[in-house]
Symmetry: C2
Subunit: 450 residues, 2 copies
């Protein structure tokens, strides 16, 4: 069986929901459907979840909220009307929201419950719509689906015990429509995942029911092998391993929340990114392992990201001092700074980190402590660093990838500030000056993909 998750733009209006219905209908394996709340229909449109948050704000501050409430209701009414469904569900929304406000819960719990109304209502509308088309579909509340979450409003985590219950969803015949983004604590309180949490719900359910495939329907045909704002219509990626996706998603590539995939990754469920507006396009598969054909391009993607800095420390005979590196990292940790990489020479080491973590005050503290505690010969900071990540599991076995990459950078007249390859051999990383990123990425793309 397949679990299919449809994102906000896929359920933004009746027209989109018709596409969704056709997609579900076209494959009997699509047995469990997870939906987001309706997203934007056009550039300046407002997502339903944001309408609900505005409504919550007004309520919280004891302002009039009739207008905000009607915006939510009307958004759903237009969907229901265009799909020729009864408007019972519309009345239900108003009562539900009023009940939330009337309840004796703490204000933050009320706002949590309010945020979830978008997904919950849309799931009910979709199941009703599918039924009206003659499909055997039913709405299932996350509580009945078995999603027991930790009591962390806005950042809840799935509890292990949930998975056994979720597995039993296999026993249902017909199609289940489950709202994403929220679940319930063991005491029955509604809690939401972090924003964009419908991806998390889909991934949890796919893992729980041990689906053959987790389909994530969005509005792009597939994942591109390089940032399309730097290279015009770049090649699409057919298959990515989890590892490759992680290495790419790290440097600027936002396939989707890495956390969202954890349950699917742990259960080794293959994931497919597909386009609701072009369902015949195969999309991009994300899998645990893949066969690499000899002769095949060892590189699957090139990611780049700016806004890094490096902290350089040198000290004669540094490498004789056991604990030097550890003590340096401890100083950064005390300041709550996480680092990306630590390239090192014999008597020096650099720490590469995101520059936004280190304001001037922190920089002063860190430098002061390093001087006092590590007594280095030199310590200084360089900002304006960009990282470029060349990713592909094939690189492990193929000789010459580093040669092709360094040649491309030389040809683009880019000076390499830093190279890091070696751990997994799934990625080859370069540090360069931010100004040089576009030239570097273009040249690397040509070298590996043209």
């Amino acid at each position: 069986m397949k679990v299919a998750k449809f994102g906000g733009s896929s359920v933004a209006d009746a027209e989109q929901l018709e596409k969704v219905a056709r997609i579900i209908q076209s494959d009997k394996e699509r047995r469990i459907i997870v939906v987001s709340a309706p997203g934007k229909r056009f550039a300046n449109d407002v997502k339903v979840t944001d309408l609900l948050i505005n409504l919550g704000e007004s309520y919280k501050e004891n302002r009039q909220y009739e207008r905000e409430l009607s915006l939510v209701v009307e958004r759903f009414r237009s969907i229901v009307t265009d799909l020729n469904l009864s408007d019972q569900v519309i009345d239900k929304i108003e009562t539900e929201i009023k009940n939330i406000f009337a309840s004796s819960e703490a204000i933050y719990s009320k706002l949590e419950a309010l945020k979830a109304v978008g997904e919950d209502t849309l799931a009910q509308i979709l199941s009703e719509y599918l039924t009206s088309l003659g499909m055997n579909a039913r709405y299932l509340n996350p509580k009945d689906a078995g999603l027991i979450l930790s009591d962390q409003p806005g950042g809840a985590q799935i509890l292990e015990e949930s998975f056994d219950k979720i597995y039993r969803l296999r026993e249902y015949d017909g199609i289940l429509v489950i709202p994403g983004f929220f679940g319930y604590t063991s005491t029955g309180k509604l809690v939401t995942f972090s924003r964009g949490g419908s991806d998390i719900t889909g991934s949890i359910i796919a893992a729980g029911v041990k689906a053959n495939l987790y389909e994530n329907f969005t509005d792009v045909d597939s994942v591109y092998c390089v940032n399309p704002t730097i290279v015009n219509n770049p090649k699409e990626i057919a298959t990515l391993t989890y590892k490759e996706m992680r290495e790419l998603s790290y440097a600027g590539f936002s396939v989707f929340h890495a956390e969202a995939l954890i349950p699917a990754v742990r259960a080794e469920i293959p994931v497919c990114i597909k386009n609701t507006n072009n369902p015949n396009c195969p999309g991009t598969m994300i899998v645990a392992k893949k066969e690499i054909q000899t002769g095949e391009n060892p590189v699957v993607g090139i990611a780049s990201d700016e806004g890094f800095m490096s902290l350089y420390i040198s000290k004669y005979l540094m490498n004789r001092e056991i604990g030097f590196g550890r003590r340096l990292l401890h100083i950064l940790e005390d300041e709550g700074i996480s680092y990306e990489h630590t390239p090192s020479g014999i008597d020096d080491m650099s720490v590469i980190m995101r520059a936004n973590q280190m304001d001037e005050r922190k920089e002063r503290n860190v430098i002061k402590r390093i001087k006092a505690e590590l007594k280095p010969d030199q310590v200084h900071v360089a900002r304006g660093l960009a990282l470029i990540m060349i990713v592909g599991e094939g690189m492990q076995r193929q000789i010459g990838t580093a040669y092709i990459a360094t040649k491309a950078l030389k040809d683009a007249n880019v000076n390499i500030e830093m190279i890091n390859q070696g751990s997994s051999e799934v990625s080859l990383m370069f540090g360069i000056k931010e100004e040089a990123v576009n030239a570097a990425v273009k040249s690397l793309y040509q070298a590996f993909f043209e």
Copy 2:
């Protein structure tokens, strides 16, 4: 003024000492001479310091030691005779050694004093010889030279207060001959440096008197840009910076003890490695800074060393865990393991270390703790790793060095396990399989030097 240090092979016998005298005579700037004890005259010869250590052993174990004693004495007698010097000094040795044995000092202090007899005697012989040649030379005991050391027999450290006193050696006219390898504690007890400590004495005195040059006379014309056992008669290095020397000396290149140079490095005294047997050869200069001509080869040397291993750890979302790397390094530190490099991907990191530090028991402990404390998805160890270090300060400004290097490795069909560049940009490091070292180094040498 110049401080000239002559190593064991340079003072092994009368013939060598005649060369030394000519070298001193040929340059009025050579005002302070530091000497080792006589070294080997031929392959199977025994160094005087080893003869003294054997003598000490016999004495310590209450064995007959006449034979060992006579070996020491005869060694010096032949030198004195061949140089036509009076043999007073010879009688002095015997009495001195007997006094050491007769003293009320603890046994370890007696052995310390005994070890120093070789340098001390040779310094006296040399000054006498220089005088016999009409030079204004005198022997100066390290105590009178001002070498006050910490009370760490066999591993003594110079005390800061020494340097002011040493500076006053400038006031002497004529040539001072000072024995290397030992000094005295503030309470007047003789203590030695680590083995090979004459280099340390020379470097300390050069720094103390603020010499224009510290000459280190050995039996090689200069430092080679690559290991001569891998590449036949490779190019010689004319000038090295301290930094370059450190990067090279690290991976197999033994110019000399890095520690020995510290005083000279801190005082920015240029060092010259020269050959006693070929003094007209300019040798290799080691300096604080050097001008890099544009178009000049940015690489000064290629070093390689085997016997490394890597410890690989991967964990999904590792980079979100602040302190992960620090905790890993702490585990190694607890086992007394020092590491060389830590290349990292987004969800994995490797620690590169010398394999001899990690026996099977330690490996089990480390892996056990990593699994228990860091809960990684994967952890494993790979041995048989070699590091190749391409060194040159010029690499910072020159684009394309990494390209030349990776091309050379590709041409030699060498797979790159790891690349590390980035901290100082004085070196570019590759990790490869040990079997591939010779092919890799030969190919890199061709690419950069031919």
